[in-house]
């Protein structure tokens, strides 16, 4: 004992008697969320930047173009930005009826409802109720797929256009829309429609794929063996984000 005491220098800094336990001292979760959930949040934040860039671009380009100032009733022209409820007023199976925004209202309800069934799946996961998780995941997959099918119809109608079409400068009539021409207004209107709703639709599609995988894993008992259904929660975060984006697309593309 005496030997070791003489050879070892006295340390200037006192050693720790107990490990540090502060919030940011390591060994705990300051945000009280697991790594996976936290990374999903940060991914969604970055994804929100992309969607915000899209919608900001829409705002800039829309304000760059003129608005219809009369005289008479609103009609389509490449000189001004179209009024959304004049563009989106068709409903499947009700040809010839003008139903402004009715179909997009239905799509919104489908997506909000799919969000509810997703929370119900997460809630069932907290209770380790495998059968309920399966049931609500299946409902979410069903509503997600229905939304995608509705969007496919919406796109088809937008691309094919109305019977009236738009009289072009060379005397021909153009029906529908593509990336270079459209009957509803300036070229960029259709471009932004394809890019914004297309990018959102791609997200819904990825979400449906994730949900199908999640359903298979639940059925195989993967999460039950793992002891928690956190994967359902993480996919749920993504799914709600997709719903959230639609809420903004709905306002800025269809309502405003």
């Amino acid at each position: 004992m005496a030997n070791t005491a003489s050879t070892q220098p006295i340390s200037a800094t006192p050693t720790l008697d107990a490990p540090r336990t502060g919030t940011w001292d390591g060994g705990n979760e300051p945000f009280k969320a697991s790594y996976g959930k936290l990374m999903m949040w940060f991914f969604l934040l970055s994804d929100a930047f992309t969607f915000a860039a899209f919608l900001t671009t829409y705002g800039l380009i829309r304000h760059k173009h003129g608005v219809f100032a009369g005289p008479g009733k609103f009609h389509f022209s490449t000189d001004w930005w179209p009024v959304p409820d004049q563009v989106f007023n068709a409903f499947p199976g009700l040809h010839g009826h003008e139903l402004p925004l009715a179909f997009v209202a239905l799509m919104t309800m489908i997506l909000i409802f799919s969000s509810v069934t997703m929370v119900l799946a997460v809630e069932a996961g907290h209770r380790m109720d495998k059968a309920d998780v399966q049931k609500w995941l299946l409902w979410t997959i069903l509503f997600g797929s229905t939304f995608l099918a509705s969007q496919a119809w919406e796109w088809t109608h937008f691309i094919h256009g109305t019977e009236k079409g738009l009289l072009m400068a060379d005397g021909t009539v153009f029906h529908g829309a593509n990336l270079a021409m459209n009957q509803y207004g300036p070229v960029l209107f259709a471009d932004l429609f394809f890019f914004i709703t297309g990018f959102h639709g791609t997200h819904v599609f990825s979400g449906v794929c994730l949900l199908i995988w999640c359903f298979i894993a639940t059925t195989n008992g993967t999460f039950h063996k793992r002891g928690h259904y956190e994967m359902v929660e993480k996919i749920g975060l993504y799914w709600h984000f997709v719903d959230l984006v639609w809420v903004f697309v709905f306002t800025f593309f269809y309502l405003v």
Binding site: L55, T56, V119, R127, M128, V247, T251
Partner: protein, 114 residues
């Protein structure tokens, strides 16, 4: 995993807690209600800055319920809440700046050859 305190009692075989879904359906009806109000404004109010402002406020309400309740952010730690909200608040500035810029570009192009 340490963060899953709910699992400890759930491992007991055959014992599944009763579902607690009241808050989910409440949030659902709030979202449906706000969407219905938006449609009332679409059809019964003339377009204009005031109507657009109402739409944006209602949209933010809906976003609050989706992110706060469905995504559970309201019940997370303050640090996580601010980590998500602060960058989003900066985007509002980007939106305002570029929409103003858009109006200006439009005005310049219209008056260019006058």
């Amino acid at each position: 995993m340490a963060s899953h305190a709910t699992n400890d009692h759930a491992h007991v075989q055959g014992e599944i807690a009763k579902p607690n879904t009241g808050w989910i359906w409440r949030t659902f009806w709030v979202l449906v209600g706000i969407t219905a109000v938006e449609f009332v404004f679409v059809f019964f109010m003339d377009p204009g800055t005031l109507r657009n402002t109402i739409f944006i406020i209602l949209t933010i309400f809906k976003a609050f319920f989706i992110v706060g309740e469905f995504m559970h952010l309201k019940h997370e730690t303050k640090g996580l809440i601010w980590t998500i909200l602060v960058p989003m608040a900066l985007l509002v500035w980007l939106l305002v700046a570029l929409v103003t810029e858009g109006s200006f570009i439009g005005e310049v192009l219209q008056n260019m050859f006058k």
